[in-house]
Amino acid sequence: MHPFSPKLLGPALALFSVLLVPLPARANPVQSDHLQVALVSPATSVVRGQPVTVGVHFELEAGWHLYWKNPGDSGEAPRFKWILPEGLTAGPIVWPAPRALPMGPLLNYGYEKELLLPVTIQIPAELAPEWNEGDVLPITVAARWLVCHETCVPGQADLKITLPVRTSLTPANEIHTALFKLAEQEQPKRIAARVIQETDHFIVDLNLDPAALVDKPLVQFFPYESLLISHSAKQAIEFRKDGISLQLKVDNARDEPAPKLAGLIVIDGPSPRRTFDFDETIVRGKPQAAVATTKPAAAAPSKTAPGFLMVLLLAFAGGLILNLMPCVFPVLSLKILGVVRHTHDAKAARRDGWAYTLGVLVSFWSLAGALLILRAGSARLGWGFQLQSPGFIAILAVLMTLVALNLLGVFEIGIGLTRLGSFGGITPGGSAPTPRKALLSSFVTGALAVIVATPCTAPFMGPAIGFALTQNTVAAMAIFTSVALGMASPYALLGYFPRVLAAMPRPGRWMEHLRQVLAFPMFGTALWLVAVYSQLTDSMTAFKVLAALLVLALGAWIYGRYQQSDRKSFLVMLLALGVSATGIVFAIQTPDPSTLVRNTNAGDGTWEAWSSERVNALRAQGRPVFVNFTAAWCISCKANEVTVFQTDEIRQAFSSLNVATLKGDWTQQDDTIAAELESHGRAGVPLYLYYAPGSKGPPTALPSVLTKGIVLAALEGK
């Protein structure tokens, strides 16, 4: 910075005025960029041998902030250099509790509006003899700070107060006394804690006064140092009767395990905020040990943590309901064929049912395992994460196209002219395929059904999976297993009810037609996948995928011709494979980064883009707020939009009640939205929240399947 820039002129002039004007016990505040700063003290004099408290007092421009001693992901804490008469010593800064200040994916710790940083100055009993009664003692500090909004501006000022030396204390400055008292109230009470590291998480168990935990207040942990926890990761909290258990993500940048964890616990209830702190050695325990410490919560079920058995039941029911979801229907139709095949062979139906169940299980485990592994890394993902990746969607679209073409009979798979219809277990001749092949196809059908079903987070599954993701791995896998079993159960059990089987129609020529008809829902699925794809990229890139699918279809057709011709030419087969491979490669190649949609979470005419800041601002204005978390690939969300939100009735209700409508679009991976979903115990969309006007507490979460009645009842506060 240029030494004579006007920016420095302000502080310089202020400093001049401090030096020239006869001094009161408070420096004239120094005006600097985006803040005003002064050195203040509740004391009006100093007495030999008695410490005196002074403090640097900042008043900030709206929107600007200063940093805590650990600034978090970025920023820098204010620093003071004291210039004191001989014999005087300054103690450390007594930091008030900070607030979490999010900045995109980063999180900082700091202060807005106002900040007092008190320091105790020791006055020795043997003050140098030149200081006599009535002499004024100068206390000077060179303060440096960084003040940030979007941008950051470093600032500095030399601040000074003078206090006369007296033999006994003079009355305190009342305004400053109140200020310092407030800062003192925020000083933490040291408590004991148990800190266990479970690979990538710290589990912190604290016993707290039950009075501090009434109504489950906001609790936040602020580490005293960086490179311990990931600042921006969601802090999961469980309330017990007499304390809390916090789950904090380990900062994965750290190269060796941390020996200790120390920091501040801030409980944001009615003011003043209550603060505690701890400084404990980290115990590296086996996951089981940590489970034991977090389990008390399961014994005392709370709103955020339903009983584990109940969760398993919910998960099972959710899995069952998945069968009725529109996104799983096309794959389900394949299963129908399989069921029909076994109408009169209960034994085979049972075997088939279990193979299908196994397919569902393995597929669920792979997805859940991948999700858990990714989350154990740093990715902040929720259920449906697969569909946030354009590459994965393209591969699914390729798969669906191939399945559809095969069902239509364009080409066959394998040697015996069997079709992918052998998923359904039928060959053109109507004879059953070999049992082993049938089992494998049932298995694959199960696996496929899961992949396609995941975007339809069925109503019961939202809370169950949300809960699963906050649990340890074993519990999480148990929940996913329960969902899988629920989904597979109708087919697994069918073989045990011969009467139901007997009621099914007999196999025949009609099955050939049915299979061909079923190709169309498959094409529909592919179409839908490309529509989702276009939401993540641009329409031209999505069009390229469609063109690639056309090439793939041509390849499949040539392959079909080759299969049916009598004189099989090796060259024709190569051509078929070459064309198909070209189609696949072009369809699934990673889209050019420049075509990727940067941010799908943008508002539109009716819905404003969601952000927690915006919600807070609207609530502060006293407006009712309705939040809609959705995604392009979420079919249940789209259904609700058409049947509820786009109706005149609901639109009128929103406008007549002056409801602010916000939409969080989760089509793309978005940490902030994922965190918000998590904080409401969900792992996926849809999630509908209603904040009643003037309410202070948490919002009402509406069911995932909406009716106009439900929304109207919520708006009317019923």
């Binding site: 190269d255 597929s363 592994i373 740093s378 994460f385 697969q386 994965f392 798979i413 040697i415 298995f443």
Partner: protein, 205 residues
Amino acid sequence: MLTTSKFKSLFFIAAFALLATATAQAAPKVGKPAPEFKGTDSLGKTHDLAQYRGKYIVLEWLNHGCPYVQKHYDSQNMQKLQTEWTKKGVVWLSVVSSAKGKQGNEEGVDANAAAKEKGSHATAILLDSGGAIGKAYEAQTTPHMFVIDSKGTLVYSGAIDDRPSTETDDVNGAKNYVSAALTASMAGKPVEVKTTKSYGCGVHY
């Protein structure tokens, strides 16, 4: 013998399992392979991790509006480092991850002008307004420095030096972690300080 149909079925199963994990984005960790990156520079050229296999790479997160960056450019510290190490064959990539419309965002022409004005000796300035590279590396601040060795392993992540301040004078006598990491690693020695807390302004994603 496996029939084609079995093959196909197995392929599907394997594909599902693989695809589910393929979306994995490994978090950057010193001692592990550096996260992949691919980006376009201010001159329109693309750069990725793979093309520099065999060379050392320094990634420097850049925002000329940030006082911490200004500290290292106004004092010529950054340019000196860039000159010294690019002469020794190091690929020095300055990455601008400020999103469009956010402070510090640079388009090609501006970026070239800024680089010229500041006398940057970086190999290239990567324009990452989408934040993909920044998020892959979990870059938090400007500056935030990463050193990748010739085998593609991340050998240093964190601050440029041990003086987290905006004061130009602090450059003198500061321990520069980037130089230390490059010197040690190129000599085949272990890097002494592998991870530090980066300091500076938050990256404007």
